[in-house]
Amino acid sequence: MEDDSVFFIGDRGRITNNPLLDQLPSYQSLLYRRKSSSIKSKGSSKGRMSISGRLNTERRKSQMEQRAIKELPLPMAEKRIHKDQRTEERKYLISCRQWKAGARRYMKRLTDDAHTFLSSMKLWRSDIHQIEGMFGTGILSYFSFLRFLVALNLIIFLVMFCFVMLPMIIDPNPRRNVTYNEHQGNVCGTYPSITRKILINYHEHILDLLSGEGILERTYLLYGFYKSDEIRFPMFTYKLPLAYLLATLGYLLLSLLWIVKRSAEGFKRHLIKDEDRFQSFCNKIFAGWDFCITSESAAKQKRNSLLYELKTDLEDERIKQKMADRTRKDKCRIYFLRVILNMFVIGVLAVCFFCIYAATTFSQKAENRNKKVNFIVDLIHEYLPSIVITLANFITPLLFSVIINFEDYSPAFEIRFTLMRCVFMRLTSIAVLLFSLWSQLKQCGTDPCGNQKLCSCWETRVGQEMYKLTIFDFIIILSVTLFVEFPRKMLVHFCKCPLAKMWGLQEFSIPQNVLEIVYGQTICWIGTFYCPMLPAICTIKYFCIFYIKKLSLIKNCRPATRPFRASSSHFFFLGVLLIGLILACLPISISLAQLKPSQACGPFSNYNTSWEALPAAVEALPQNAKNFINLLGSETFAVSFFVVTCLAMFYVIALAGAHKKVINQLREKLVMEGQDKRFLIQKLCQAQNVPVVKSTPRLHSPSRRSPSYHTSFSSNYNDAVVLAHSPPRSSTHV
């Protein structure tokens, strides 16, 4: 009795669908287009169309009308018919509604044209198109991330330029010789020798350029140049300290908002994904192939990477099974091993951090000695912290990837964990550098003459360190491409020995490259407060890096064997960038709120902390504004704001939970509908007594009751008889 009579033998003995299935509205929307056959079927089905069928088509029609024509899954001819119908209908509308509809269409077309124009103006459009065709969307996401950073840095520089540099440039009465008074507040006998010499050595020029000292110290580049008085314009006075403070807070806030906005879309998609049923296989089969790929080599690479991914996933399944089979003894052994290895990792990190601290201290002391030994040695002394940081960042990922093999995690978790460790290493090394500078600064309180350059104007020193880090980072990226990857490629191509072939070309590893540029961006964020021209330098740096990396990718590298998926990468990039931003905010907020600005230089020399510029400015406002701002800063406002935010958060969480529940219910309902459908078709076929053929056995028996349908089913029984005709000749098949 339980035959699955969804299929039956049609006209020419072929197994076709039950014609009832063809009439279902869900199927109608998927009809294949056969112009001739559709006309035929229209003709033949005209007579067969019952009342309920006609109602269905009308309902579908009204649904389709609400959607834009271009989104309908119909062939062009039918879409044009639709469009003509709509224009016809619109003629009969009242004139004002007609005007509204026309105006809406015009606005829509205008916005479409504007979008096209804006997207054609996007930087590097053709380069990115070329990369996408050759390497797919995974690597593309890295380059569009780079483009985003160029734009971000440019905007930050514009903010600093407009509010801090421009007023000083157009200052009607500059008093240059008063701005940088290194002698003010100087209790030591000797002065640091920053006096200008008559004949400046060529080497010293280069050294100055590379380390931000000497001639660069008294330019707009560094903090020390900006003055602390107000700038008197004819119309108003411009408080430079306040502007400097607000511009700093402004660029941090702007970066945060922009990153959050950019990641919001990716996050939405991330939330839709159901964490329990992560469908790795379906995703790979149906959404795995990049339709953008146009070159043969890229197609081969994509195929290989898909193959590799599938094999790895099958391997994952096997490992999961193995992990489930682990005995207790095994588990203890593995946990013990993991603890040991993690402690080893922490030990390695501690050693690196200590090296950075020592290098920074040594570098500061060496500079203070003022003995110019040799150009190269001086350069090394200047760049010692940067060199140590770069070495540490180079060695530790290799170490981590070796260690993780012994820890016996699942492959997906391995990659994520190694990445987390590398992120931690990179970003904390900057923190350690700043910490070592800060510890030196503390000594200024007790011994101001020991480290004169630092104590007299410490913000300039910090700015110089950040400047050096940026320049060195750029030099390293350039040198690695030229002096490591290029010879490696030459070696692999021209050397015949099997060792070279096995070593292979450099892999373009997206995570490591992304960490590199996020590291650079974090330095830029921290350094902009001390070195306002740093964003401009970073913009140029990232601009050049784009072309360097593109060249390196095309000529020297092969894409990684374990490819990075575009979707998760979007989230990953912005997540790491956000961590960098949060890390950058910490030193800046500490230095704004706690540290005493140097008295000899800079816009905040008159205040006890940099933050004081704001309350001082508020004091100068009229009484009403003062009261309002005091209210905003008071505890009552803060507490009530916090309470309101918490309430909003709880509401949104509850809403999300409710939606999730509804989604689960709908999912279950979908399953039941499918079973109901099959059950009903079966009953109808029995009622029709058409010849049936056994198909593949079902997993669930349809013996479930569908009580909601019983009553309606009996009333539609006559309809069922009406609908039971011989199958249409060619609705689906040729």
């Binding site: 192939w289 146009t294 998926r565 499918g674 593949t696």
Partner: protein
């Protein structure tokens, strides 16, 4: 701006702009691409809607489709006769659906058609196996292919009939984050 083009009338370009995701300039560019495929067959003047169809073999030779393992199925599902002969309307339709601006639902409908090799409105195991073999150029062993297809059906099948109906497929696509970014061709 420039010479007034004589390939299409203004109404035709209007209609194309409303019915597809392309602008006028892009439609004209598409027409020149279509013309390039067979300069002798494709007329330059489309104002009176000539009935000209290009065969499958010419279309799948385009650089955008040449490396795609599903190129035959893509062209077939947009052709009216199911054999892959595309008129200009269908050509534009195809690239419109595959463009960046097309919404996910529209792409899902056509993706389902493309992957449905035996045209029975279900993605059964054979369809999946064919898809997988096309993707990997048959470099997986038959046992691995079977295992992967089983797992895929297990993941996406909701109504338990051991094959994927459109509802299952669409539900799976909404949870596939890569779909929108990979299922698009730039022309």
């Amino acid at each position: 701006m420039g010479n007034k083009q004589t390939i299409f009338t203004d109404e035709q370009l209007d209609a194309y702009q409303d019915c597809t995701f392309f602008t006028r300039k892009e439609i004209l560019r598409l027409h020149s691409r279509y013309h390039e495929l067979a300069p002798h067959l494709v007329p330059m003047d489309y104002t009176n809607e000539p009935d000209c169809k290009l065969p499958l073999a010419l279309i799948v030779d385009m650089p955008e489709l040449k490396e795609n393992p599903f190129r035959n199925r893509i062209v077939e599902s947009f052709s009216e006769d199911g054999m892959g002969n595309l008129s200009f309307n269908e050509f534009v339709d195809m690239f419109s659906v595959l463009s960046e601006m097309a919404p996910r639902e529209l792409k899902a409908i056509y993706a389902f058609k493309i992957y449905d090799y035996n045209v029975d409105n279900y993605l059964c195991k054979e369809d999946l196996e064919k898809t997988l073999n096309k993707l990997t150029k048959e470099e997986l062993t038959p046992e691995e292919v079977e295992l992967v297809c089983e797992k895929a059906i297990e993941e996406a099948d909701l109504d338990g009939d051991n094959k994927l109906s459109y509802a299952d497929f669409e539900n799976m696509i909404t949870r596939a984050p890569d779909f929108l970014s990979t299922f698009h061709i730039r022309i």
